[in-house]
């Protein structure tokens, strides 16, 4: 059972555009929501994370929006650059408990110069 669902599967934007990746989760016990960025042939890198007590978090050009009632969260890449072209994974976990992350299947983002 897929606990975290990502959409769209892939995304192509022009440089300077704002790609938005959406994730939905089922388990209301989840209270930590990270995003990972993975370049081809590399391991995923933790990019940004949010907890459900806030609705938005920004780090540089990356912003997470969180909607607790809808059980959804999104990654926005502001002023996207070709170097942002990568696969992005959302995930969810409980901070107390089982030491595991439930990952989405990943979205490929391509930023065209």
């Amino acid at each position: 059972q897929q606990q975290v669902k990502q959409s769209p599967q892939s995304l192509i934007v022009q440089k300077g555009g704002i790609p938005i990746i959406n994730c939905a989760y089922e388990n209301t016990a989840f209270d930590y929501f990270p995003w990972y960025q993975q370049f081809p042939g590399k391991g995923p890198a933790l990019l940004i994370a949010i907890r459900p007590d806030v609705s938005e978090k920004k780090e540089g050009r990356f912003t997470i929006s969180f909607n607790k009632s809808a059980k959804q969260f999104s990654l926005h890449i502001m002023d996207s650059q070709p170097g942002d072209s990568a696969t992005y994974f959302c995930a969810a976990s409980r901070r107390n408990g089982n030491n595991r992350l439930a990952f989405g299947k990943g979205n490929q983002v391509v930023v065209i110069p």
Binding site: G43, P44, L46, A49, S93, N99
Partner: protein
Amino acid sequence: SQTIHQWPATLVQPVGSPLSLECTVEGTSNPNLYWYRQAAGRGLQLLFYSVGIGQISSEVPQNLSASRPQDRQFILSSKKLLLSDSGFYLCAWSSEDRGYEQYFGPGTRLTVT
């Protein structure tokens, strides 16, 4: 700062041969350690995780096994590889009290021929 290493970086093995992949972490004590597999163009599948020396939890039944002989060493093994074992193998670590915040290694690309 903490560093995670994996080797080898790439490996080509014939069907039926044994496998040993190694992961080590520096700069932390008693980390949680994880093995993931990523099939081509797909998401992250948790294979094993460990909260301490000799403590291994298996997520997916298969012909792979894991061991943790030392605090910061995690090994993934197989006695006989299958074609379906091909993929990108990722090791990750987290601090013992923050299992939800995982950091990945550079990965090992395994091709079974």
